[in-house]
Each structure stands twice: as C-alpha cells, then as structure tokens.
Amino acid sequence: MSLYSRSGRPRPQSGGFELAAWYYMRLSGVALFVLALLHFSVMHFVFDPSQEKAGFIDARWSDVLIRTFDWLFLVIVLSHAFLGIRTVTKDYLRGGRRTLALTALYLLGIVVFVMGTMVVMTANIPSVQ
C-alpha cells in the first residue's frame, strides 16, 4: 500500500498504537455506519422527538439488554469520535499547544464516557407527567 492516499489518512507505517488506531477507525466506522444511522432512523422515523420525553427513555431502558446495547454503542461512538478529533488536533497544532489541547481532549473524553456510562447503567428515571 502506498503512502499516498486520495481518500483518508494514509496508513501509518510506524506500527504500534497509530496503526492499531488507523484500523480501529475503519472497523468502528463500519459498525457505526449501521448503528448510528439505525439509531438516528429509530429516533426520527419510527418515533418522533415530540414523543421522546423522559418517560420514553424510562420505558426504553426497562430492558437491560437495550441498556447494554446502548452502552456498547456509546463506547464505539466516543472512541471513534475522540480518536477522530485527536487526528484533527494533531494536524493543526504542534508542541506545547498540541500537548495542552490533547490533554484537554482526553480529559473531556473521560468525563463524557463516565457521564454516559453512569446514566445508561444507573438511571432510574422519576416519572414526570
């Protein structure tokens, strides 16, 4: 495979984490092609945002399998999204700014992952009219 690419990022030649991340973006991309488009379709074409108040989530998450599925979806989405933003950040920033931006990015990623995991695993939504 050549270094030159007309498509996305050329496959890293260094191996290790960068190569693994390159493959992971493509693998998770295929999964998200199905999962993200399915999720968007269910929430906009099967149901409508006007129906999706807190009670909707409560009913949806009464099934532990759906909670598990949603958590796996969360893990794949966040890892793909944050790895992507990491690539963008490394393209535009160098030196100290890059270190600062990447540190902030990773911290944000951890916070969002913890929040998402907490809500999908523990939410016991009180009923509001």
Binding site: S7, I57, M118, V120
Partner: protein, 121 residues
C-alpha cells in the same frame, strides 16, 4: 472565500466535508451525552430540552445533523473501499458522485419526514 478560490478537486472537497461533518457530529455527541445524563438527574429540564428538539428550529438542526451523519457514513465507506482496494482510487470521483446520488435519494425523503410536523402534516 478559501473554498471559492482554492481549485481543489472532488477529493479535496470530499476530505474537507468529511472533517467538518465529523467535528459537527462529535460536538452533537457531547451535547447528546449531556442531555441524556440530564434525563437521569433532572427529567423536567430534559423534557424542556426535548421540546426544543421537537420545535421547528430543532428540526432544521436535526436535518443538518442527519445530513452530516449520512455524508460522513457514505464517504467513510468510500475511504474504506480505497484504503483496502487501492485500485478503486482511480474511481474516487465516481464513487463520490455515487455517494451524492444516495445522499440526495435517501436524504430528501428523510428530511421531509423530520420537517413535516412544522407544516402540520
């Protein structure tokens, strides 16, 4: 201005759109984790936010989000095809135009379904 003056071909525009749509989806994912988190801690605030999602402005924004998602998904497949079957790189423009055909064919009816409550349909 840059986009008008820079004579990049389809490949460059495809790349730029992929990057812009990716950043936009990332930003929405952040918002979405926060709003779902709210549903567990403060459902009435969450319900207010959901009313915004169902409002006309909210629906227009959702069409933009869906468009970003669909473009990113289709162009992502285009990237995969060329990364794993490098000979297809010769047809990168054709694949991009095929993507747009699917984008319009799927996207227009989808946008109609999301927007129709605005017009009372």
């Amino acid at each position: 201005m840059l986009l008008i003056r820079y004579r990049g071909s389809e490949g460059m525009v495809a790349w730029a759109f992929h990057r812009i749509s990716g950043i936009a989806i990332w930003a929405f994912v952040l918002l979405h984790v926060f709003d779902i988190y709210l549903s567990g801690s403060d459902p009435s605030v969450y319900n207010d936010l959901l009313s915004f999602y169902a409002s006309p402005i909210g629906r227009v924004l959702e069409v933009l989000l869906g468009g970003a998602l669909l473009y990113h998904a289709l162009n992502g497949i285009r990237i995969l095809l060329m990364d794993f079957w490098p000979r297809l790189t010769a047809y990168h423009k054709q694949i991009w135009y095929a993507n747009w055909a699917i984008f319009v064919g799927v996207g227009l009816p989808a946008a109609f379904v999301i927007l129709k409550p605005i017009f009372g349909l």
